[in-house]
């Protein structure tokens, strides 16, 4: 009806514009892309640019003003003092440990939820995994203090079972446990989705050809799930790499992360140039990791 009216009264502005755009794909692309591009380039990338350029400046000690004089001092300090190397290695090491832990924890769960569990249970499991994300991150980490404390729940439980008590509170082990806990849903989701996409027929064919469970897992399922694992690992690795709140809350004396030093430099010492210089480390590490993850197909599985 509307089309008939249009034809009789000539084309309206809207239809003419729509037609014109339809004939010019480039214009449509530009129209679609400019708002997000403007946002990202004008705000985010510009901000990043200024930040990393400031790594080459320094700050006046007493007044706290950033002095725009070019210097490599920040990088020199970072490379010469072993403290920063220790901190960087500790951060990367724990991030890797958390990633591996979460992968191991997530795989059997995701397999069960995606393929074995009845549909109702599967849906309930999905909610169970999502719900922690809606509970405040800060408060969940803080709850772990209670669990891991010397007089806390973990030791109370171990004591009752007769296993004595552990001294894991405020340590790197505590951080590893808490990080693995916090980012687990981020690993489970993409792995679950990846396992879902594997057609039944492939697994059945493998079994038909005589492969036992573990062999099927290793040679058929795992390669197909790898993109999901890679996608999940991007989150667990990068989120651990940049975090400073969990080390503050559950870390101990020797638990400083890159994020802590950066945060203290900015939020406490107001030395943004130094913070920016140290922040280059996680950026470089993440950049390398993203390239690797992309090769493994992570971006399609996000």
């Amino acid at each position: 009806m509307a089309a008939a009216l249009d034809a009789s009264e000539g084309l309206s502005l809207r239809r003419r514009a729509s037609g014109a755009l339809h004939r010019r794909p480039a214009a449509r692309a530009l129209l679609l892309l400019s708002p997000p591009a403007a946002w990202f380039v004008g705000l985010y990338l510009a901000a990043l640019g200024v930040l990393f350029v400031s790594a080459f400046w320094r700050v006046d000690g007493f007044t706290g003003e950033v002095v725009h004089s070019w210097t490599l001092d920040n990088f020199r300090t970072l490379l010469s003092e072993p403290t920063y190397r220790t901190i960087a290695l500790r951060t990367i090491g724990i991030a890797a440990a958390v990633t591996v832990t979460d992968a191991i924890l997530a795989l059997p769960f995701a397999y069960y939820a995606a393929r074995v569990a009845p549909r109702r249970l599967s849906r309930a499991l999905f909610v169970a995994v999502l719900l922690p994300l809606w509970t405040s991150y800060l408060v969940r980490v803080y709850a772990w203090r209670l669990i891991l404390a010397r007089d806390g729940i973990l030791n109370w439980g171990l004591d009752h079972v007769g296993l004595g008590s552990l001294n894991v509170a405020y340590s790197n082990i505590a951080m590893w446990i808490v990080f693995s806990y916090i980012w687990l849903p981020f690993m489970i989701m993409p792995v679950w989705a990846a396992i879902e996409r594997v057609p039944d027929s492939l697994l059945e064919a493998s079994a038909d050809m005589g492969a036992r469970g573990f062999t099927t897992f290793r040679r058929v399922l795992l390669p197909l799930v790898l993109p999901g694992l890679a996608a999940g690992s991007i989150f667990t690795f990068s989120l651990t790499l940049g975090d400073f709140i969990t080390p503050t809350l559950v870390g101990g004396a020797g638990s400083d992360f890159i994020g802590n030093v950066v945060y203290r430099s900015v939020g406490v010492a107001n030395d943004v140039p130094f913070a920016a210089a140290f922040a280059v480390v996680p950026v470089v590490v993440m950049g390398a990791y993203l390239l690797l993850a992309r090769r493994l197909g992570a971006f399609e599985a996000l």
Partner: protein, 393 residues
């Protein structure tokens, strides 16, 4: 489907180049954002109408509902507090966002001069604060908040950094700071996560190693700083956690993870209120401490509410309430009787009527600077911050 794998080096290189170009362009156009906004303009002669809001940066426990709620009711100024655990944080917060985010900051002596020099705070008219007249003489115009006769704030309260210990786990009554360096309590000690802790180590060394010649724990030569840092590095394996938040220390003691540590009276009071067997004291080597000032931001958006607040917390009753709540000593001499009314014996307990010798025995926080007189070069605060990261790392 996608062309991701086609050009492995393309996108990241393009991004990096874009970032670099953008960054250089922007930084080339702009200048540095100045922090020195307020020159000493005319001081107000009376307090105008409240603006309805007040943003403050405060130590944990300095804005308890007990005295904030009556203030809000009387003046209509809604108080928003941002807690900071160290002077560094306070200075940074004050400078953030052009300096107009917050109106007041309860700065200790090691932050106040930095804020004054940086132009982040402006002078106040103390004649508008009646309580000021009753302050102890040492805190009316102390060097850390009065420069060239101009008052850059109103003194608030003061107190020592104490030694906190669990009476059921630590035998006897530790009379020396040495207990914090004692391997017997390995993994059960906690001290503040704050570069100014170096002064505590220096104070300890000034008594135990007089040969180092430390006279003022905030004026340390490179050699003296090195000695203090060495001591702290030896202490590091004994530390369970460096507390950054007051609740850190409270949790550490409450849940059995620490039995001895350096502390503020706020933690002692909270723990005792929760029936944890702790006590605190000042060891024989003396203690560092803090004398706090409410300072007015040079670009405060709610100056009238700010003056009303300064006036309110300087009254004897509020001074008493805060002193008892936090465990510190009020600047107002008239607070003593109010303290005893709220809690019997509080006035003597928190040294509100102590002689000047007690005041002088505390080494109040001040910013280490490189020019320490007598032709000597001392280490400045940036150096302290760097060394502190090394100690902890």
């Amino acid at each position: 489907m996608t062309t991701f794998l086609d050009k492995p080096s393309g996108p990241p290189a393009a991004i990096a180049i874009t970032l670099a170009v953008l960054g250089l362009l922007i930084s080339a156009c702009g200048g540095s954002s100045g922090g020195g906004g307020g020159k000493a303009s005319n001081l107000p002669t009376k307090i105008g109408r409240g603006e309805g809001q007040l943003n403050v940066i405060a130590w944990e426990g300095y804005t308890q509902p007990q005295w904030v709620k009556p203030f809000e009711r009387q003046t209509g100024c809604q108080v928003h507090s941002k807690y900071a655990g160290s002077s560094d944080e306070m200075v940074t917060l004050m400078r953030q966002g052009g300096g107009s985010q917050y109106d007041l900051v309860s700065a200790s002596g090691d932050a106040s001069l930095r804020l004054i020099r940086g132009g982040n705070v402006k002078p106040v008219n103390v004649s508008l604060i009646p309580g000021w007249r009753d302050f102890i003489p040492q805190l009316k115009s102390p060097a850390h908040n009065t420069v060239d006769g101009k008052h850059y704030g109103v003194s608030l309260q003061w107190g020592p950094n104490t030694l906190l210990y669990n009476t059921s786990k630590v035998g006897g009554s530790p009379s020396s700071w040495s207990v914090l360096y004692d391997p017997r309590y390995r993994g059960q000690i906690t001290v503040p996560d704050n570069p100014i802790q170096i002064a505590d180590a220096a104070l300890y060394l000034s008594k135990t190693q007089p040969s180092l010649g430390i006279k003022d724990p905030y004026e340390l030569t490179d050699k003296q700083l090195g000695a203090a840092v060495d001591l702290l590095k030896r202490q590091r394996p004994l530390i369970k956690k460096y507390w950054a938040l007051a609740s850190d220390e409270i949790d550490l003691f409450k849940n059995g993870d620490a039995v001895v540590g350096a502390s503020w009276p706020y933690q002692t009071i909270t723990l005792q209120g929760d029936k944890v067997p702790v006590k605190d004291l000042i060891p024989r080597e003396g203690a560092t401490g803090w004398a706090d000032t409410w300072m007015l931001s040079s670009r405060a958006r709610h100056p009238n509410c700010a003056y009303m607040w300064m006036r309110w917390v300087s009254t004897p009753k509020v001074q008493a309430q805060q002193a008892i709540s936090f465990g510190e000593t009020p600047a107002n001499t008239k607070a003593c009787s109010f303290m005893d009314r709220i809690q019997k014996g509080a006035c003597a307990k928190y040294h509100a009527n102590a002689p000047a010798t007690y005041f002088n025995s505390i080494r109040f926080w001040k910013t280490p600077v490189s020019d320490c007189g007598g032709g000597q070069t001392c280490t400045d605060y940036t150096e302290w911050q760097r060394r502190w990261t090394q100690v902890k790392g």
